[in-house]
């Protein structure tokens, strides 16, 4: 029997991770977490998570960067803010989850065709280019980019219902002043 260690020792941890996430999330109080578990018990998604929110906060607090960024938990967070409003230490947990998602995308530590970050990316691309989201085009790109044509096929009956009730349009929505939006994002990029 091979004995394997599953938890890192202190010297293997990323000591700058807590500070990084504090800055990226704006949640200054992460280290005030008392591990009470109110977040995990409030979270409607925790039954699907590999590590519930309480554990994610502990990971961030103690430098378990890899574990936090590779967890499914951060993608399952639907931003319902229940944990955040209930946290007795007033930690902005939802903002921490957002910061972890961004970090995971930045460092490319998620399966490339995992649909949740693909949706985030494709919708962001539509917004950057056109200023608006077009639901049908987003769905098409989601299934195409997450390499799931079968999933698109399964959507067909719903698509028909939405067509019939006039709730799905082929039109690509766009704002008039796309140039202003483009400039705005360029100026920000220059400064960042």
């Amino acid at each position: 029997m091979d004995i394997q260690r599953h938890v890192k020792y202190e010297e293997e941890l990323d000591k700058s991770f807590l500070e990084e996430i504090k800055v990226a999330s704006g949640a200054e109080d992460i280290d005030r977490c008392i591990q009470c578990g109110t977040c995990s018990s409030s979270c409607p998604m925790s039954v699907y998570m590999d590590s519930p929110p309480r554990k994610i906060i502990a990971m961030v607090k103690n430098g378990f960067k890899e574990e936090a960024l590779k967890s499914f938990t951060i993608w399952l967070c639907s931003s319902c803010y229940t944990c955040q409003v209930r946290c007795p230490a007033k930690i902005e947990i939802t903002e921490v989850m957002y910061a972890l998602k961004r970090k995971a995308i930045e460092e490319k530590v998620y399966p490339s065709n995992f649909p949740i970050p693909v949706l985030d990316r494709e919708m962001s691309n539509l917004i950057k280019k056109y200023g608006r989201n077009s639901e049908l085009w987003l769905i098409l790109r989601l299934y195409l980019k997450s390499k799931n044509p079968l999933g698109l096929l399964k959507m067909a009956p719903l698509g028909l219902k939405l067509m019939k009730t006039g709730r799905m349009s082929l039109k690509k929505e766009a704002i008039k002043n796309r140039n202003q939006l483009k400039k705005l994002l360029e100026y920000l990029k220059e400064e960042a």
Partner: protein, 294 residues
Amino acid sequence: MKDYIYYPGCSLKGNSKHYEESILPVFRELGLPLEELEDWNCCGATAYFSMDDLMATAICGRNLSLAENKKKNIIAPCAGCYLTLKKANKVLQGNSEKAKKINQALEKAGCPYHGSIEVKHPLEVLIEDIGLERIKDRVKYRLKGLKVACYYGCQLVRPFTDFDDPDYPTKLDQLMETIGAQPVPYSAKTRCCGGSLTGTIEEVGKRLNFILLKEAKRRGADVIVTLCPLCQFNLEILQDKMARDYGEDVTMPILYFSQLMGLAFGLAKEDLGFRRSIINLDPLWQKLTNGGIQ
């Protein structure tokens, strides 16, 4: 009363046309016609904030700037847009490095924002600015006997709103009572519908919405009343699959509060977007004509 400008957001121009089709006539009836903010852009939703916080906040800033130019506060019926614009507004009204950076970029792009705008949800305006008394005066037909489960979802009541309770809000229940409907006690009223998860990991979305529908059924509701396009969509679209996969029929119409208000005001039901429901509404009409509407 403050002046408002209407920020529809992408959903009200897409799959939630019936929200727009009902909210506009209802506000017109109440003497507060809503003009649409010209050339508004997407609020970024949860997606853009998961990719790039700075850019996402900045594009919200453009919307705030457009409204500020008109000297009007924003009214945003989509709970997602409402939260996102409010969140960005809070950042841009502050003095953080982030705020400075974004405000500078906004100015350079020709859409400066000076932080003078408030963002409101129509429910908030109905309750706080118009008031239940005035709404009651407008009611022509009380929706007597119609049992409604009032579903608030997440992003209207958390984390920025102070006009109602984040766990057990009651303002939508009060509004429904005012138009003669009967709200049922609904403990799942702020439990999440899963947001965009229905589109990405269907099994999770299906289960979350099944829980919401099952609880509404158990409480004897005839319909679920919503105030967010994503909640409305999620609760509606997987009902047939739930019956098949979980062996329990939880079929129920999912309506916008504004559609029911329109009915109570005596507006023609053809003009309130009911034809866009993918759930059969016959049980609702039967309920309302069998001694319902009075």
